[in-house]
Symmetry: C2
Subunit: 392 residues, 2 copies
């Protein structure tokens, strides 16, 4: 037996306890919990069948009461003596995408992001479209290309505008979007709705998301049906799902919503989240967006997504859209950081606008924990590999 | 043992042999083939494990060589004596959604549809946007609400514009879109591409699709990220997947594409399809669109969808978008048939624009078969149930 040491100030102390899926040279994929710089094998220690699976979906499908109960047992487990064979040093394991993605929806919930993009792309018009403050605008993305942090991102090829008509080739405006993603544990059947008050009954936890975006492909394709190939090549998520319970101390009121929202979007609980993100580009911090200023809450997003009777499913992922705050150092996408590519930023002596081959982006985040310190999301990281062009 | 009788002129003769998933009071979901007015249990007769499953996905994952081989065996089987216990009269079985839907993408591939919609919604502008003839425009839809023909469709609620700002309530402009859907059997990994020539290696077969659309919800929400709740409440598919082999006699050249498309969209094989659709609204035929005039072929759609390195997966469904021909009696959506609701059509003595509660829409289709007759897709049918409004 062994005792797990949690370094002072670790964002992975006992008030976090995020779940992930890992494997070791000796054993296949199963569910673990991160504590300090260790991963504890929950399949081996707790013996629940749902943890001996290659994704969190079976556990997530069990629902809020069970999630709460198991979280209590996990906390007891890792605070005591644990079989040494169940404790793995983080560098010795491989982390996998922690859940199977059912439907993936990406929102556009930051007023600052939507306004910045509006000003950059349509400088002579109102930055926000008329619907923006009445509903959380969102669209469906591609579930099969949601990958775990660390997966290499191949620069996509596609069509983009040129003076001589569209041309095909590697994207020249490859960007990121730093987002928070919410993972649905228990779904709702087709024909029913999830009210804003029912958010915590359905949502299991949160991850960091990097919604890689090829701005040149997107700009040419997106009218009138929205983004497709400019986004569908890859979306990265962090390896650890932070349970909603761990975010209790991060809950804050969201911004005042004016005009008043329709009744189905009203909330009686605060689901604004005081989470600080940090974006590092080749090791240089280029932005520190705060999630607390997001206009639409995740409870409103889920209520909106299901108000037409659309089903929600175990494994649904819905992301906030780019997290941007009001300040110039709080922008969550490079198109904003560089103001449409017009103001390069210094990335280690290299003036940069969009991503170059070999560049690495790492997005991290922390939030207040229950015991006064901070809890962490880990990171969502990705390095750009050169495009593979089609054969002759 | 019994011999299966195929009525003269049946669209389900030996040159069709579509696959579906059925159950009986005595037995759970498994794979069957439709012959005439019978369903033959393939799990019982052929004994392949992949047919004793509740979806076609395991069989579809086996690939083109196996699909071709099995089709030969199915043809031999149903032409000879079959155990009587494996033959079920169609009305005695329940049909289920034949495959698990991985990613769902809906295209917009009919020039006539896109032009009609452009003229209706933007009468003073060019009906086609500048990108339309350069790439097959499409977007991702919601996989979890793809349902089998016959599933009741509850009228969705949502936000729509009014003179006093947005209001919430049941959609007042509920519409259909008659489409053809293509089902991916074997996928392609992230980072690779499927060329137009590889279409038949990956696509297993085709279904009819009704992309139910709430035009009022869609019109208010869709800028700038495309349709979401106006479509995500339900998409219906026919119960029978017509194998690609059965469509050999339907293959025709598509329309001339001018301007010339980029190299990755060029084709050396014809994948235009001479399929006739028919839309019945409460029993009255309101349109007969022909698929042969679709501007973009399904091979081009798949090549486009993966050219950025996006993965394709077993069970991916991609649909053509509304099938409309050039004539006024060849329009595949009610917004076109009634020209934006301005010209009601007579549906059994009732002048009608959009769908009322209790209305039923049935879309059928046939194509030339290998032996000179016609093969059928069966139908995709749905009846509208009244909206369920949220509680107080």
């Amino acid at each position: 037996m062994t005792t797990i040491t949690v370094p002072d100030g670790s964002p992975f102390g006992l008030d976090n306890l995020p779940y992930g899926v890992f494997s070791t040279p000796a054993g296949g994929r199963r569910v673990g919990v991160r504590v300090g710089e260790s991963v504890v094998d929950l399949a081996q220690t707790l013996g629940y069948d749902v943890f001996a699976r290659p994704s969190l979906n079976p556990f997530m499908a069990q629902g809020r009461a069970r999630w709460d109960e198991v979280r209590g047992r996990v906390a007891e487990l890792v605070a005591g003596d644990v079989p040494a064979s169940a404790v793995h040093a983080l560098p010795s394991v491989t982390l996998h995408r922690p859940f199977e993605v059912a439907d993936y929806v990406d929102f556009y919930a930051s007023e600052h992001h939507a306004s910045n993009v509006g000003r950059i792309l349509r400088p002579d018009a109102e930055p926000l479209l008329p619907n923006w403050k009445h509903l959380p605008v969102g669209y469906h993305g591609r579930s099969s290309t949601v990958v775990v942090s660390g997966t290499e991102i191949t620069r996509p090829c596609g069509q983009r505008r040129s003076d001589d008509g569209p041309v095909f080739g590697p994207s020249t405006r490859l960007d990121i979007e730093a987002e928070l993603g919410f993972v649905v544990g228990t779904g709702s059947p087709m024909g029913s709705r999830v009210s804003t008050d029912e958010f915590a009954e359905h949502v299991f936890g949160a991850v960091l998301v990097n919604d890689w975006s090829a701005r040149d492909i997107q700009a040419w394709e997106y009218q009138p049906l929205g983004p497709n190939l400019g986004k569908s090549f890859a979306t990265s998520v962090s390896a650890w799902v932070v349970p909603l319970q761990a975010l209790e101390a991060a809950r804050v009121p969201g911004p005042v919503q004016d005009p008043e929202v329709l009744p189905y979007l009203k909330e009686t609980q605060d689901w604004g989240l005081d989470i600080d993100l940090e974006i590092r580009w080749n090791g240089h911090v280029v932005s520190r967006p705060g999630y607390r200023q997001m206009y639409w809450s995740p409870a409103q997003m889920l209520a909106h997504m299901t108000v037409n009777g659309a089903a929600a499913s175990t494994g649904d992922l819905y992301a906030s859209g780019t997290v941007s705050g009001p300040g110039p150092d709080e922008r969550g996408a490079l198109i904003e950081v560089t103001w449409g590519g017009r103001h390069p930023v210094d990335v280690g002596g290299r003036p940069s606008t969009f991503l170059e081959d070999g560049d690495e982006v790492v997005i991290g985040a922390t939030a207040p924990g229950a015991s006064g310190g901070r809890i962490g999301f880990g990171e969502v990281a990705g390095r750009i590999a050169p495009a593979v062009e089609p054969g002759p």
